[in-house]
Symmetry: C2
Subunit: 349 residues, 2 copies
Amino acid sequence: MGLNDRKMQVLQAIVDDYVNTNEPVGSKALIERHKFPVSSATLRNDMAELERMGLIEKPHTSAGRIPSDRGYREYVDSLMRIDQLSASEREEISRKIDECLDEAGDLLKNASSVLSEATGMVSLVMTPRLAESSLLQLKLLMIEPGKALVVMVLSAGVVKDKVVRIPNFLTPDQLKEISDSVERSLNGKPLDEITLITLATSVKETQIPDSILNQVLYETYTAIKQADRLDVFLEGEHNMLKLPDFSELRRAQNLLGTLSHDGMVAGYVNEIEKEKTGGDDTYMIRIGQEIALEGLEDCSFITTTYKVGDTISGNIGVIGPKRMDYSKVISQIDFVRYKINEKIKKINE
Amino acid sequence: MGLNDRKMQVLQAIVDDYVNTNEPVGSKALIERHKFPVSSATLRNDMAELERMGLIEKPHTSAGRIPSDRGYREYVDSLMRIDQLSASEREEISRKIDECLDEAGDLLKNASSVLSEATGMVSLVMTPRLAESSLLQLKLLMIEPGKALVVMVLSAGVVKDKVVRIPNFLTPDQLKEISDSVERSLNGKPLDEITLITLATSVKETQIPDSILNQVLYETYTAIKQADRLDVFLEGEHNMLKLPDFSELRRAQNLLGTLSHDGMVAGYVNEIEKEKTGGDDTYMIRIGQEIALEGLEDCSFITTTYKVGDTISGNIGVIGPKRMDYSKVISQIDFVRYKINEKIKKINE
DNA sequence: TTTGGCACTCAAGAACCAAGAGTGCTAATT
DNA sequence: AATTAGCACTCTTGGTTCTTGAGTGCCAAA
């Protein structure tokens, strides 16, 4: 059945209207708002057919129809047309993102705020998964006796560090010796291939006692492992309370309850990211029941990736009610993503 | 009027009952639940008097009484008795805090989660204000041509850093020269006394061209200024939706709307912290209208401080409905605060 | 100062009703 | 075979009315 099939036009009209008005749409309203060259009775027949196909449903007997999950799915897959943001919308977003400080952490958090504000829904930005990025530099820096700073430079210019404890009597020179030999042997290795054993073998030929060495290596190891920790910026939860879709307290409770576990959401994103088939700038769209997270049954979840350098990427997306303006939201995400990419590129030269 | 005044006992009973039941309490209920040796008519007279004093009020003519803001105030100031947490409650909190990683940022975030979970309300933990702490060490570390890491060690063992841009052709040796002379002259200075001018004068006698020097100094300066940035961990917003006090959507919206601006909340805490009269481990309690933040009119706000070293302190507290178990909440904050203090001490040796 | 008694108030819930939007189905029309 | 007009039927929504009961304030007596 083609796009020109009237039934599909009806579905599109129903989705559009329902997104706008948040009211089940009936045959009369459909005729009025869209210029279908047929009578309401005909549309009623079409709607009955669409219902039989599982694309729309009615909340109760004497109400209009609303799209089902599968209806939305059909809509985003075949019917929706994505158009550019208006100049003023782009301007607005640009301004807000540009006025933030030039640091990675801040940039992402700020971008998340901007996105949630622009969409009026919940935004999600995750720092890149660094497990596959490689270690370019590693330095151990004495801060005071017993305390050192591990500084790691990863591919794509990301810098991470952590304060660690070391034996009190270790001298800066000894520390430098360890640091240098570790760096030499780990140079270029992906983070997730570094193990405690890799580390141990890297410092074979020093004359520092094993027991001391081991403590330092262990601390270094934890620092490395911690470097690929994911940060999650989930912003705008309160926006959901303003939407009529969550005016029932129970729904709002469930939703915010799950969103408060940002680790859970991040884990879910990583999972669906693995199943992804398309390229990097395609969009993952999950609708209603398709989302395997309790409490998000009435939501849709749209994510995509932004790039840090050529190989590393993080995620950005939006969580909102199923009844959202998919096309608009996607172009908003897209523009914010574009701004992030641009800014990151500038930071890394 | 003393504590033994029956009217005060009545007030206490009303607060206790209202906190428990969330229902306006009437004279009959009062007689039943507390063994007042008088009749309900007498209590009615007392209650009328308490109302005239502005300590309680009725939602409408034919309902029982609820405490007014001033009533709660009287309660926390003179009537409330704080008792220890039970062993199992302490155990629970201890366990959850102990199982988190030993790093400052994580510790505080985790503590905030624990506190919000324990109280079932919103918890607030702020990183220490570092403006008054002093700079013990400052190092500029070459990462790659054009990029350096500024590492700062502050009093109380806090380490902060930031990646900055530097001129491409600057050599590690030149960088070290700048770094050393800056460190020498800033050593021991409180962060908030460091200005761009202080920095400029500190490197008078180098032979590096001024224009280059200025860029590096400026970047260093921004790094220093950014070091005293405040992080705010506001957790458990979703808990508020479960409380009957915020079952009206409007209230919940207002509340979460304001809480989403964590900067605003943090700013407010800093403000009231300045007005504080008592010692460090006293509690600031703000009730209802006393809180100068839109949307928190139905809340109470309890904060206190935790210590990092001898001079630096951060804030920890709870935001919940006015109708909260003040005594319990205070002991919960107190215990979490104690655990934080302890852990921080251990991290710093 | 305390108490019993009583009239009064008011929110909350139940029951009922009317209006209106929307449907499905049938029979006629193109 | 597709479309349409017409109509009976369903069900939500909102308004009105009534009842119930908890709670008060106040008066007069102890």
